[in-house]
Amino acid sequence: MDRRFFLSAGGILLAAASPLAWADDKKKTGSGSGSSTSSSTSTSTAPTGSAIKSRVIVIGGGMAGATVAKYLRLWGDGIAVTLIDRNSSYVSNIMSSMVLTGQRTLTSLTYSYSKLQSAYGVTVVKGEVSNVDPSKGQVQLADGTILTADRIVMAPGIEFDDVPGLGSSDRMPHAWQAGPQTTLLQKQLSAMTAGGTVILTIPQKPYRCPPGPYERACLIGDWLKTYKKGSQLIVLDANSDYVAERDNFVAGFKLHNIKYVPNSAVQSVDPGTSSTGLMSIKTTDGVTHQANVVNMIPRQKAGGLVVKTGLANATEGRFAGVNQLTYASTVSGAGKVHIIGDSSATDQPKAGHIANQEAKVCADAIVRSLAGLQPDPAPVTNSACYSTITMSQASWLMAMYQYDPAAAKMALAAVPGVAASTGWNADNFEDMNTWFSALMADSFA
């Protein structure tokens, strides 16, 4: 037997010998688990044996990944769906700036995959994906398991560029991926002496959640006025102007006396050696700034697996080019791999609400494709969010996208384009909570 044959046979054997990801798993919870779906078919139970008509692997259980897994089960016919994530639950980035001000806890923002399993029959695997082979439709886990599928959906979110000079210091947290970094920044803000200087840096676009850094600045600015009197917040923006919702953020920055410096990208930093000493940031405009607390949000790129698989072929090699009717990769030979959410390169914002809709468009396209049908030729997506301009009042921002066949991309709808509230108020703050609960339920429950 030649070695090559042996290797490939071994691969097949491994695939066959890893039923954990496909079995009608024993983790399924008891009675009534399917009550939230009204489908007459067995959406709530993973298909087994001959009931499996096709298989889809979803990598990454964030807003996009969770939603596509749910809707493939809800809309598909006999599609066995396996969702792989390195964590056993998801911590929402949306609302996580309010952890910094003590208004939310990370626990309250944590979402499990149990509903996807019990109500939709998604098989959830906790694991690290080490390799994706687009041509074979294979996903290899770090423990050597190889899974094979008809389609692979990658939704690994973002990764951050290294910041020159920062090294392994944890003194300048990004807190842009909710979790330990959020807690770190919250503690540093809380420990700061009143009258100190806080710097928040905004990276060159595209980055996750366009209004997000400005929203966070407003929230921290309001919090400083109450809890750290006499402190100064400085926003260093690598972009030439406010990236989103300009009118509201200009007014919000004025309200909180936030100093805004555009065209000011981070060149290098010195986090210092003591845990209380000043940190410094040198920016591209030649200025060196000093601060007691730094929220360093670095420039972003697609999740490492997208880059490693060779699918980051757009935006200077940072994000993945996709067919915007299906979210299939535009890399030759990788058409059975779809990339949704923050890792893909489209004109749509990188944000949770629209990632949920990209996931539905992708799920619909996969369902059609597996049935030998063409994708919907005219999908629509929408983005909506609320921004905390103060600790108790919010604004809203939205955008609608229609497919433009001439440009072969999702383009801003002529009307309404991008729209925002005129100012902010407490009603919007209440609506924000309703919106957030609904969005998370549509994605995870």
């Binding site: 939230s36 009204s38 809707y71 809800l74 809309w75 016919d77 609400h353 949920n356 809709q357 539905k360 468009v361 619909d364 369902v367 059609r368 049935a371 030998g372 049908l373 919907d376 005219a378 999908p379 629509v380 997506t381 929408n382 909506a384 809203w396 939205m398 609608m400 229609q402 709808a413 009307v415 309404p416 729209a419 509230s421 609506d431 309703t434 919106w435 609960s437 609904a438 969005l439 339920a441 549509d442």
Partner: protein
Amino acid sequence: MRHFFRTAVGAAVCTLGLSLAAQAQTAPPAGRLLASNCFQCHGTNGKGPGFDKLTGESSSEIYKDLKEFASGKEGSGIMAKHAMGYTDAQLQSLSNWLSTQR
């Protein structure tokens, strides 16, 4: 003439039969993907949790509501802006689908 007519009808019936059979098995229902834009705020299939539930209304009622939002009669809030982003045919299609949800 008569012969041609019968043939044409036969072909039409045949095509219709095929497309209905294919639809029943495979094609997603019209308007569902468009309507799914509503789910982030109104719940999966418009059934909550979230803002107003979208179920229990006829297609024409839903369409009329959406047209009122799109016209600006309901103000210029976030829902009005969303309603403005669809073509008339898209609003009709998603209203038709939503009316099937009970």
